[in-house]
């Protein structure tokens, strides 16, 4: 359950700061939004594993 709060915090922060993703449009670092997105997926995967472990406890 603590993991869920972390997820909520992550998504809320992402929501407010995500306009930053617009910046690299048309520049050579065009892939940055996708890297950020991949990072978000990795965090979600980690939290999902944590949730599973909590359920097993």
């Amino acid at each position: 359950m603590y993991a869920y709060r972390l997820v909520l915090l992550l998504v809320t922060l992402g929501y407010f700061f995500s306009p930053w993703l617009l910046q690299p449009w048309g520049s050579s670092d065009w892939y940055k939004p996708f890297l950020f997105w991949a990072g978000l997926i990795a965090a979600t995967l980690w939290l999902e594993q944590k949730r599973r472990l909590e359920l097993l406890e």
Partner: protein
Amino acid sequence: MSFTLTQIFALGVGYLSLLFACAWVVEKNWLPQKLVKHPLVYVLALGVYASAWAFYGSFGLVSQYGYGYLTYYLGIAGIFVLAPLLLSPLLRLARTYQLSSLADLLAFRYRSRWVGMLVTLGLLFGSMPLLALQIQAIGDVIYLLTNESSPYHLAFVFCAVITLFAILFGARHISLRERHESLLFAIAFESLVKLVAFLVLGGFTLYSVFGGFDGLEHWLTENSDTLANAIQPLENNQWRTLLLIFFATALTMPHIFHIIFTENPSEEAMMQSSWMLPIFLLLLALPVPIIYWAHHALGSSLPIEYATLSLGGYWGLVSFIIGLAAASGTIIVMTLALAPMVLNHLVLAVYQPPADFDIYFWLVRMRRLLISSLIFIAYLVYLVVSIEHDLATLGLSAFIATLQFLPGTLALLYWPIANRKGLLAGLMAGFLALGIGLGFPILLDINQITVLGFTLQLTGISDWHNITLTATTANILLFITVSLFTKMSEEEKAGALACSQDALFFPKRLELKAKDSAGFIRLLSIPLGAETAQREVSRALTELNINPADTRPHMLRKLRGQIQANLSGLMGAAVAQELVDRYLPWQNRNKSSENDIHHVERDLEEYRSRLTGMARELDKLRRHHRQTLMYLPVGICTLGSDQEVLLWNRAMEKLTGLASDEVIGSKVGHLPRPWGELLHTFLEGEALQVHHQPLEHPDNTKVWLNLHKAQQDDPATLMGGTILLVEDQSSLKLLENELLHNERLASIGRLAAGVAHEIGNPVTGISSLAQNLYYDANEPELVQETSQQVLQLTKRITSIVQSLVNFAHAGRHSDSLKFESVNLQGAVEEAIGLISLSHKGRNRVYENACPANLYITGDTQRLVQIFVNLIANACDATVDGGKIVCLGRQQGQEVLLEVHDDGQGICPQNLEHLFEPFYTTKQVGEGTGLGLALVYSIVEEHGGQIQALSPSPELKGGSCFRCRFPLPSSDVTYQESSSDNEQNTDR
């Protein structure tokens, strides 16, 4: 390169045939179940979200807002990241209450048919642009690939094939909650086709147009200014609004809702999709800017929405297949989701088939008709509206419209005081704003309206941000305000509690009018017909694994809930609610009743993994207390105020042989014999405790029980009732009986010596008389007189022996008591007679002062045993010539018997221990310490009490034992059995 219509038609039909084959092999079970049920299939099926708009319309967004197109993917990814907080609770609700659409969910929560109708209409109007967009995308791609001026006929043919597929594989099951594995697999296959084809297209574009990543970077560096100037970047708030719109689609768009909740194989699959779906979407989003830049680099003259066709050649066919896969998947799932919604909330609201109809057949037929109609209407919308508007406009309008359902849906989980009036007011305000802002200019081409002298310019989709904010803000404000200032009905409160994540649902333990499953069938036959009612009740009984003969109120409540859930899956939540409320009503609905503790416990168990902090610790404590009660080695049974069994612990299971599952929810009086009768009688009685209650099992084994009861009345929790505690005293009773029997034998032994001495005298007399007879045989008168004397002496011997035999025949203590009316004076006389035979009892003065007409109810021999023991004790306490007085009298509703002696008396410190087993003040070898314990036990069996007093109130010094027996009632029925249950209660 241009293609002919025939070629495109053949390719399209070929692809759709492949889709049919895909569903067919699953239908025939030709594929391993492991593959069909794999979570990846579910995740890929969720890819239905990527409709034609993702492959064509999103390029329109790119051309306007650059990376603004990412909101389409990030929004829905965000809601999946929040799956444990938003999607899982909704999934549990949808499963528990068989809710198959957003309209069902909201109608269930807000308990309103109007809510269901409004949501259905809103979703219908909101979805139509998206459906039309799919058909338009196919039509436009065909046009661009063939240069045929009229692709409408071909688009129509594709619509017909898609309709056929939807009917064949998506509208087969009767229940809406049934999963369509073949359909899901086909949709997953489509998503895989879309993903692979789009990635291949993107990869090929990257290398063929830019020569790889380096080339792309080089091209971007050279054209960065041009690209930046070509777009109008989203403002931060616009970006966030777009993100919110696409965030809401997972909950509000019918096709996404359908796959997420209705076709979900397990909660675990949903949790896995929280990271797998974002990966899928990331891969889909990646080629979009590359293809867009390639479109620019190649200087293509094609509309930007169709940038995927820029590469030309056979890549156009790949683009067509991608579009067809996306469009067909969306159309199929969207209409499958919308058709039952329209049927349940619009058609059934105005027309319900008569009871003699085959309702299942009618429902399936109607659903198929609605699927066809919806696709046809979407085709008409495509012909009328879509031609004049681009894909981005249509798609965005649809997404903005469905955003209006987000506040109501979130409140469903997290705001229990939200009510239907607030929801309806908010939705109407939101849709009114959208209708004016978007509907007028897009559908009616009205660009200016004047209200109360104010002229309002309507700019349509170009002002989407302000229109969305206005509509959503009006919706939220009215929703909150009206909810805060209006009251909720009781039904609505129940719906709110059932859905709320922050509160547990406390349903009431009400009784139903239907008393058994046959009653359910009889009542449901009125609206559904006998056959359907029988089928639905049988289905619910099977699903709950309930015996049709089970009449427990708890089980009947569960049965009602399951029938409602099943009907909800069949006809929607609103109709199911109405049918059940009307035809399976509660009895005494308005009577205040207690909460259903079973439901509360079940909810707590399900909620357990989500508890944190103090709540988690409290839950651990609750479980600990429950376990303590369950494993306590004393039988515990708790009952509601209506005598429904709420808890039946392990000791009760062992003692009664009745499993908790069989008993919970029953009325206590309906429990199998002899327990039902015993517990019910005890509950109805005034006594709070009953000791040594004998109980005979059906197999003739006998047990002795101590029963205790306590009332619990807690108005705060509405959980009143009674706690019953049942102790098995059988082993203790048997041991006690054994000891008391030994004591009786010891008494007989003690008396035997006196008896032998007493018999000696008449025997000596008989011997002397016999000698006289020998010498005086010739004198008939003397012989006759002597014979008379012998007979008298013989009678005396018989009397002495008979007294001892009678005393001994009291038998084992465990034998049944024979309750009868006993004359107290006679019983005391018999006891004195016996004691006088003993050595110690000979030289005492006895006075039997009991009135001749004083009677008590009891077992004669047991009562004689009492008096023998008390008088023998008095003899022991007195010296030769000592006086022993037995007094009897009636005092109120009691009969008192007192044994006084003028002996040495009893020390005050010994008085309180006198009746304890093995407690004696006599020398070792003189007493067992069980005599008074035996007396105490017998007095208690007779419903009496005993008290020791010293000094005696009647004689100077000495002591007194006072026994109190209940006065026999005039209508006492004496039985020759152990039916003494009412008699042996402590008073």
